[in-house]
Subunit: 317 residues, 2 copies
Amino acid sequence: MAERGVSCSADQIVITTGAQQGLDILARALLEPGGGVLMEEVSYTGAAQAIAAHRPRVWSVPTCARAGIDIDAVEVLLEGGVRPAFLYTVPDFHNPTGSCLTEASRRRLADLAGRFELPLIEDDPYSALRFDGEALPAVRAFDDRWVIYVGSFSKIVAPALRVGWIVVPQGLREAVSIVKEASDLETSALTQRVLERFLSSNALEPHLERLRHSYRERRDAMLDALERHFPSCTRWNRPLGGLFVWVELPPSIRADRLLAEAVDEEGVAFIPGSAFATTRDAGASAMRLSFATCEPAEIDEAVRRLARVLKGRLRDE
Amino acid sequence: MAERGVSCSADQIVITTGAQQGLDILARALLEPGGGVLMEEVSYTGAAQAIAAHRPRVWSVPTCARAGIDIDAVEVLLEGGVRPAFLYTVPDFHNPTGSCLTEASRRRLADLAGRFELPLIEDDPYSALRFDGEALPAVRAFDDRWVIYVGSFSKIVAPALRVGWIVVPQGLREAVSIVKEASDLETSALTQRVLERFLSSNALEPHLERLRHSYRERRDAMLDALERHFPSCTRWNRPLGGLFVWVELPPSIRADRLLAEAVDEEGVAFIPGSAFATTRDAGASAMRLSFATCEPAEIDEAVRRLARVLKGRLRDE
């Protein structure tokens, strides 16, 4: 974390049973009855689940598969007097869009958090999976009073360990500890020891090298396949890391209906953008394609089949 | 579980990250804002923590270190129109009192749950640690629609695994699954596999035999030591299993003040009954003594020192 500007004292780190528990704890510590949250129009479903239990008002701002969260929209809302309990975002290789905030955007977001005393949850499962360019500082690097950093070993070591962590501003430590203890007393000492052994053996860096190599190859295979097979009326981004490509279809195509056909006719699945919607109709004509688990040749074949279904639909219109 | 009358289909079992998560999930699934819970005047602190976040009204009923929860008091409240979101109790070797409900009491409690459609959380971390007599049926054996059974491997295999389970009535399955997923997605597959290997090797039963043998010896050492060293104005129960003896002191003695002296003067600690109070002044003159982690000789010495502090206090009065 240090290389990305996340410095803190040991007592600011709360080990969680996976990052999902981190999000759940933060929602419980920050959200009062009647409160609201600020999220992107498409956002990580696990965060939405953690938040949903509190039935909050959701202020939804646009997001873009290239530039990420629309910071102008955030500023307009805050200047207009909106006071959410927190803002939630994934600055590095966003789920579902794959976007990555520029350094200037990170700084600006942190400044807004400080200026409006807005807790900002920076969810970061993917930043170590960067394929192109240099690592950027975390949003947390620009503000340590309002930015709450959520880390995870799930995407870089193993999800089955269920170990993540939160870097908590001093003022939130007690509230977070109380909720953590009520949630499950403590995170398994066994899985923490397994992880400690792995990390102290210096196995992480070579492991990350292998992951980045393999995922980069798969991302490239997916981008090549999209270029080769997908019709020109579709658009997608080139993620600099992470696991996802976000494909935008013509507005006449509903991705959830396309999914049903793709599964039935071609045995290929994806997550329709609507699954990530925090506001009506967001992502309705978009698909999240994951390149994480398939070999390049399979990716090419899957994208070819998806394109076939899509072209069929476009012809029928 | 089957031998204690807890029968259910596989889809009624929800694996949890320790029983604490089970309690937390149930509080979240059952407690609406403004709701209340029915608990004993002294009750397990982890349950109180899980519940506290919801700031419920707490209806507190008497409990006794011999007979357990005062079922007459429960009935009076329910007949009086009180409608808690649930009743929480530990029927076998109660924490903190060590009490164990009779079979007739279990049946009566289950009948009340059914008659008043009252969800009853039966928290059972200790029943396998029985030293005397035959295992009694779980409360769940007498009602499978309103009794929710919470199990744990923490006291019989290892707390560091963080694996427990809930047996959920059919009508609660979906609500519980939603909260579980929002809490931490799933319980570590690694710790579940470790446990599966242990259980399928038939190592549990001999392990339990060793635990029971060792804890029985320690309980006996503690009861002998109390008999030998404690003044006649004190009372305690003879727990049939579990980890705790509940010692009642003269009402003039506040156990929390005694604790401070015991630690300072004699290097001995216990949990004062007030730490478990769900209503003002409950347990103020009682101590929970745990015989779990000390050898018999240490237990004798510790009780001797505690008695010395106590006798000093009684002389000063």
